[in-house]
Symmetry: C2
Subunit: 102 residues, 2 copies
C-alpha cells in the first residue's frame, strides 16, 4: 500500500510524473470537497474513461494520497488533503491569472 519505487532522486520529479499525467490533477480537484463514488467521479470528469479513472485512482492509492472506504467511496488521505491545499492555492492563482490574461 505504501511501498513505491523511487525512480527519481528528487521527490518532486516523482510527484511531477504522477500529477503530470492526464486527469490526475483533475481527479484530486474533484475529490477536494468530500468523498466521491467511482461513478460520481466519472460524471464530474466529463470525458474520462473508466479504464483511466481506475488506473489513476489505483496509482493515487498506491502512493497514499487517496483511499477507498466502504461507505462513501474515494476520499483524500491526510496527505492528499495537504495536496488539496496546494490545489486551492493553484485555484486562487488561476482566478487572478484568468482575470489578467483574458
Amino acid at each position: 500500500m505504501s511501498r513505491k519505487s523511487v525512480r527519481s532522486s528528487h521527490p518532486i520529479n516523482e510527484i511531477l510524473d504522477i500529477l503530470g499525467t492526464r486527469w490526475t490533477l483533475r481527479i484530486l480537484w474533484e475529490l477536494r470537497d468530500g468523498p466521491q463514488s467511482f461513478r460520481a467521479l466519472q460524471a464530474r470528469c466529463e470525458r474520462v474513461s473508466p479504464t483511466v479513472l481506475n488506473q489513476r485512482l489505483a496509482l493515487l492509492r498506491e502512493h497514499g494520497i487517496v483511499t477507498l472506504e466502504s461507505p462513501g467511496g474515494y476520499r483524500l488521505t491526510s496527505q492528499g488533503r495537504e495536496l488539496g491545499e496546494i490545489l486551492m492555492a493553484l485555484s486562487r492563482w488561476a482566478k487572478r491569472w484568468s482575470g489578467d490574461a483574458d
Copy 2:
C-alpha cells in the same frame, strides 16, 4: 498572444487541463531557476520530444505564463513565477510525502 479560448466556466478547470498534460508541469519546474534555451530544456526533460516541447511552450506562451526572448531563451513571466511559487510549495509537500510514505 494573450487571447485564449474559455472552454470551462471555472479558470481552475482550464489550468488543470493545461497543467494536466504530459511535461507541462515538468517544463515549468525546469524553468523555475532561470531562463533556458529550447535545447537546454530538452536536455533537462530527458525523454521529451521536440514536437511536444514546442507544443507545450507554445501553449504556455499563449497563456502568458512563459515568454521567449532573444537573449536567454524561454523564461517565466511574472504570472509564471507566481505559478512557480506554487510548484515550490508542491516540492516541499513532496519532500514530506516522500519521507512519510517511503
